[in-house]
Amino acid sequence: MASNKYKEKMSPAKRKSLIRRSIPIYLMALPGLIYLFINNYMPMPGIILAFKNYKAKDGIYGSKWAGFKNFKYLFSTQDAFVITRNTICYNLVFIVVNLVAAVAVAIILSELVGKQKKFYQSVILLPYLLSAVIISYLVFAFLSPENGFVNNSILKPLGKEGISWYQEKKYWPFILVFVNLWKGIGYNCIIYLSTIIGFDRGLYEAASIDGATKWQQITKITLPLLRPTIIMLTMMAVGRIFYSDFGLFYQVPQNSGALYSVTNTIDTYVYRGLLELGDITMSAAAGVYQSLVGFILVLSANLAVRKFDPDSALF
């Protein structure tokens, strides 16, 4: 309303100058807007592919409609259950494990005195900057059945038989949770750390004078003050629960078929359907399933965040 009124009052000369000022700004925005159009908006209508009998020669729009057949087929397979379970369960475990570790490390770092804490922070952030391919090499150096460190230098001296790590599924939930934690801990603790540093030191001094121990200061001051940040970041993470880190689930287990039942997530399923199995419609159906459920979750998470703290919401 207010802006309408403002526009009505605007004199023609003023409007003209506004337009003159705006044209260069629009020009500046143009390349970026075009890129988003190509990269993000043009593929969006392509989700109708999931409702079609795709024939490459007819293209997305020329192919015949198939209704919900692709979805019916997808959900009649065991795959739909497995990929949904894996995606959600891994994410839930990641959220909990990463949260506990990140908060603990942030608290320790904030309480340490001395220059070495800067060093710790740098070192633990480093894995975050490595590519999934490099990480898969690092894991391979430890787990390679023939040359790996674990089989040769830990199990052999103990007189134990080497393990074919890339064939045995029972270890992978732990490996993946560990690798994810290893990669993300430096990154995840940064926000908590910067929040803690912002707290009023006076509270801690007062508590200390009243005889509060370090542990009491942490549980009675730091953690309660950190609660809003924890809730917010967790809600954001829950909003992304339908998406997985493709590199982690595809590269680190080296796309090993024997491990699919514990490493296949929606993202890896979509990828394999498209490029390895050539099953484009199934892949598209799984993609749409992810996009729609993901959209609803991100939207709900944001609405929840906005209720909680409007400044932190995306919109």
Partner: protein
């Protein structure tokens, strides 16, 4: 009071021990990688990857840099890709972010929504792949490494936009307009210099994303392996190894059509070479990187 000092000392000791353990976990895999790359190949085959090599050797690096193989070439592609991608991506990100920070701009709300919506919903891999391959014919071109996904994202734009809003005061810009500066002059002479910190941070994010990306090459470069970045080459190599170990019965067949498989130490040397630029620049970028994460923080 004495009890306090004792408890504080205990906390410091315990805290340092915990952090030393976590820090060690963070770098030990990289140390193993580095040592393995300098270990004699036969010793590696006998003892596996090890922290204490039986015999040192620089053979792996000599092999990489002398035997006119694809490593140097892939390295070159990665460097060109990172430079071009960062320059281009940073330019369009900065321009769009600046535009969105202009409060007087008619339609600003709509444009902001246009950007933010891409964070909420996407068509997914399949339509994106079909779009880039059939409409734009990116398959097996250098552009396939450059364009899809990496050039710009809504997250960086929104981060930079809020920096322009808070870090570049409206009054200074207004003063420039009154002095007769055009929009472009005001942008280049006033807004850009003031926004240097965020430009450095976003440039860093984009650069690292390009250097580390392997998916674009993996998806779109099906024939042109000569366009492989170092990440793609590394990826291809580990796949071949995996393929061989799963089909060890017919190694002779497996070798047909696959890149020759370098020895055990060369693999690790290549991974070291792939990660080296990150390690080298890390001490310099680290501060900026942390600042950037704090800035974008909660929204990530």
């Amino acid at each position: 009071m004495n009890k306090d000092i004792a408890s504080e000392r205990r906390f410091q000791l315990l805290g340092n021990i915990i952090m030393i353990i976590i820090s060690a976990c963070a770098i030990i895999p990289l140390v193993l990688l580095l040592i393995s790359s300098f270990t004699d190949n036969d010793a590696l085959i006998r003892n596996g990857y090890n922290f204490i090599p039986e015999k040192w050797s620089t053979y792996a690096y000599e092999y990489i840099f002398t035997s006119g193989n694809s490593v140097v070439h892939a390295y070159f592609i990665s460097i060109v890709l990172t430079i071009v991608g960062t320059a281009l991506g940073l330019t369009i990100t900065t321009l769009l972010a600046y535009a969105l920070s202009k409060k007087f701009l008619p339609g600003r709300g709509i444009l902001t929504f246009y950007v933010v919506f891409t964070m909420l919903f996407n068509g997914g891999l399949v339509p994106t792949y079909i779009n880039y391959t059939t409409v734009f014919g990116l398959k097996n071109t250098f552009f396939a490494l450059l364009i899809p996904g990496l050039l710009m994202n809504a997250f960086n734009i929104m981060m930079m936009k809020s920096y322009f809003v808070t870090g570049v005061p409206e009054e200074i810009m207004e003063a420039a307009y009154i002095d007769g500066a055009t929009e472009f002059q005001a942008f280049f002479r006033i807004a850009l210099p003031l926004a240097k910190p965020i430009i450095a941070t976003i440039g860093l994010f984009i650069g690292i994303a390009y250097w580390n990306d392997w998916m674009n090459g993996y998806i779109y470069l099906t024939k042109r392996t000569d366009l492989y970045s170092i990440q793609n080459l590394l990826n291809r190599m580990i796949q071949n190894i995996q393929f061989l170990s799963q089909n060890s019965g017919n190694i002779a067949n497996a070798n047909v059509g696959l890149a020759a498989i370098p020895s055990v130490s060369v693999r690790m040397a290549m991974a070291v070479v792939g990660v080296l630029p990150i390690i080298i620049v890390y001490p310099f970028i680290q501060n900026n990187f942390v600042k950037g994460i704090t800035l974008g923080g909660v929204k990530g």
